[in-house]
Amino acid sequence: MDQIFTANRLTDGLVVYLTEAGDWSEDVNQSFVCANEDDLASYEKRAVEAAVARRIVEPYAIDVQRTAEGVRPVRYREVIRAFGPSIDYAPGAA
């Protein structure tokens, strides 16, 4: 199964994804999709290093599917993390 790495950014806690270049982006579509064990291992190493370097906290891998709209997490929890609360929440967001 395809996987990507996600975490929360240390300074503001926002959800971020590990990109191909090893940066962390708020956009799930910028994430690097690991399709084999070698990619997984090397990106996991980068994720752990980023945690040590205090850029992010608690990185982990999630299952995703590549769709016409882009990278989509499989679990609903991760969909909510990727796209925000499923409700109108902040004033003006309504």
Partner: protein
């Protein structure tokens, strides 16, 4: 209201300085996340799905207008312009940045507020009746004791590392509006035959994975011994409470395992040992604390205000609001006004910064600058002259704060659920929104009468689903959101844990399932019965049959 003395202020200011240092050490890398996490949790800062979340303590749910305005200001400057009132009478910010939290806490400290005792295995922020000090049915003002317990429990060295979190609630009135029987310790103010004040002591209630109704271990404790008796309970718990298993560590499990009688004996024995040496409340101290809660300068009224009575006849919408949202006050000519944070289709308990400012203004104009937060996630203006109710209602309406649904089916308690919470199995808020839309018709709501509907996104039960007349619990069925329905729970003096009605239902079937249950009730109810009365009379079977046969 209680005002900080120099010691209170110094403690809170020191805490802010200490946390500022900890945050900067975290950002510079001196502290790892593992080292930092317990420190941030001690200051109410969680990491949720989308961001950090800060839980601010509102001691026993009492706020001044100045504090409310500051909370609104913080919501605007450090969050996205809104905040969430919780079932612990607290407030949560959903989007603060870690780097901003020291400043945010300093802002709170400037109005005598903080985020201490909102997390961790300590004695949590004490909760009480939102109508404390003004309820017509009250025996004594519970805020006096809540404040004493707050001072005693904050940073108490013996009780800072308990087996688990510990929640105390109290009520000064026989009608329990503070859900005291589902707390680790619940206290009910009583008078003995000679008229002396004291407490009935209830222990071992709780919700979560193993819901239990608390057991009375003492019918009457003279009030002078409140602290030493609490200390005896805490000691017995600290000694026997299970630290090996997080799911068995709450006091309810201990009380259940050894039995209430044995537990009471242990407490009495411990109390005998310490009651002459332990700290109790000296009468002068009680008087000092009590003086903070003395009644405001009420105007004198004779009988009911004529204008108020006339407006109720003239304006049906106002009359409806009065019927559900206005409660009897102990002072003639005054009333308690509830502000619903449950407008149709909105997240329960959320308020925008503008609404919070509006409530602060209205509290200043109409209610001696005081506001209360309820565990049902609503707000209260406790001291409104009946003569002012109509003007207040009109102003509330301008801000979307006059929904006349307190205690009705759309006054739903819902936890943040999977839209925010890292522990959730399923969403709560959209379920509440759908249900409040389905039952939005006011005449129907009023016809259905009192109905407590409560939703939790996981078994931790922050949404109090176990004690809802109708409870809804989100569960995860192979990655799909499902909902388990319980019936017959209650959180008041007749507290009960709801019974599971049958297999969980899918999210798109849930609203119809609730409608089905309501229809069953309407068909079965007899003269003036509330939902809970009917349920107690007929039991689960007819609801179950109808719900699952139909589908």
């Amino acid at each position: 209201m209680y005002r900080y003395d120099e010691i209170d202020q110094a403690v809170v200011d020191q805490r802010v300085a200490q946390f500022r240092d900890q945050v900067s050490r975290r950002l510079s890398g001196e502290l790892s996340e593992d080292e930092f996490k317990p420190l941030r949790l001690m200051n109410g800062l969680y990491l949720q799905l989308h961001a950090y979340m800060l839980r601010v303590a509102i001691p026993y749910g009492t706020l001044s207008a100045v504090q409310m305005r500051k909370l609104a200001d913080i919501a605007r400057r450090y969050d996205k312009g809104y905040a969430h009132f919780t079932t612990r009478q607290n407030l949560q910010y959903n989007w603060p940045k870690l780097e901003d939290t020291p400043d945010l806490l300093a802002e709170l400290a400037s109005v005598e507020m903080h985020a201490i005792q909102t997390s961790g295995n300590c004695i949590r922020n004490v909760t009480t009746d939102q109508f404390a000090g003004v309820a017509a049915d009250e025996i004594d003002d519970p805020r006096v004791y809540a404040e004493v317990i707050r001072q005693w429990s904050t940073f108490h060295p013996e009780f800072s590392f308990l087996p688990r979190k510990f929640k105390i609630a109290l009520t000064g009135a026989p009608h329990d509006r503070a859900a005291i029987k589902v707390h680790d310790i619940g206290l009910i103010v009583r008078r003995d035959d000679a008229g002396n004040l004291g407490f009935e002591v209830v222990v071992g209630g709780g919700q979560g994975r193993t819901p239990m109704i608390g057991k009375t271990i003492r019918e009457f404790l003279p009030k002078a011994y409140l602290l030493s008796y609490l200390e005896a309970i805490m000691r017995v718990y600290n000694q026997y409470g299970r630290r090996d298993n997080m799911y068995k560590a709450r006091i309810k499990i201990l009380v259940h395992e050894i039995g209430a009688e044995k537990f009471a004996q242990e407490v009495e024995a411990e109390w005998e040992q310490i009651r002459h040496t332990a700290t109790d409340i000296p009468p002068e101290e009680e008087a000092r604390v009590r003086s903070f809660f003395s009644a405001p300068a009420y105007r004198r009224f004779d009988g009911t205000d004529a204008g108020f009575a006339a407006k109720k006849l003239e304006d049906r919408a106002f009359a409806l609001w009065v019927r559900t949202n206005v409660v009897a006050h102990k002072q003639p000519g005054y009333a308690i006004a509830n502000i619903s944070l449950k407008p149709v289709g909105k997240p329960p308990g959320d308020a925008t910064a503008d609404q919070m400012d509006a409530v602060a203004d209205l509290a200043e104009q109409f209610s001696f600058s005081e506001i209360r937060v309820t565990h049902e996630q609503n707000l209260v203006l406790p001291d409104v002259a009946e003569a002012d109710l109509y003007a207040l209602w009109q102003r509330l309406r301008d801000h979307g704060l006059a929904t006349p649904n307190i205690g009705l089916i759309s006054d739903i308690i819902a936890c943040p659920g999977l839209d925010y919470c890292a522990l959730a199995n399923a969403r709560s808020i959209p379920i509440a929104q759908q249900l409040s839309e389905r039952f939005s018709d006011l005449d129907r709501q009023h016809d259905l009468g009192e109905l407590r509907l409560k939703i939790s996104g996981c078994i931790n039960a922050c949404g109090h689903h176990h004690v809802g007349h109708i409870g809804i619990l989100g569960v995860d069925r192979k990655g799909e959101e499902y909902y388990q329905i319980t019936l017959g729970g209650a959180a008041d003096e007749d507290a009960a844990v709801g019974e599971i009605v049958g297999p969980a239902v899918a999210s798109d079937e849930l609203t119809d399932a609730i409608e089905n249950i309501i229809t069953t009730y309407v068909g079965l109810r007899q003269n003036g019965e509330r939902f809970i009365d009917t349920y107690r009379r007929v039991g689960r079977a007819p609801f179950k049959e109808r719900l699952y046969d139909a589908g």
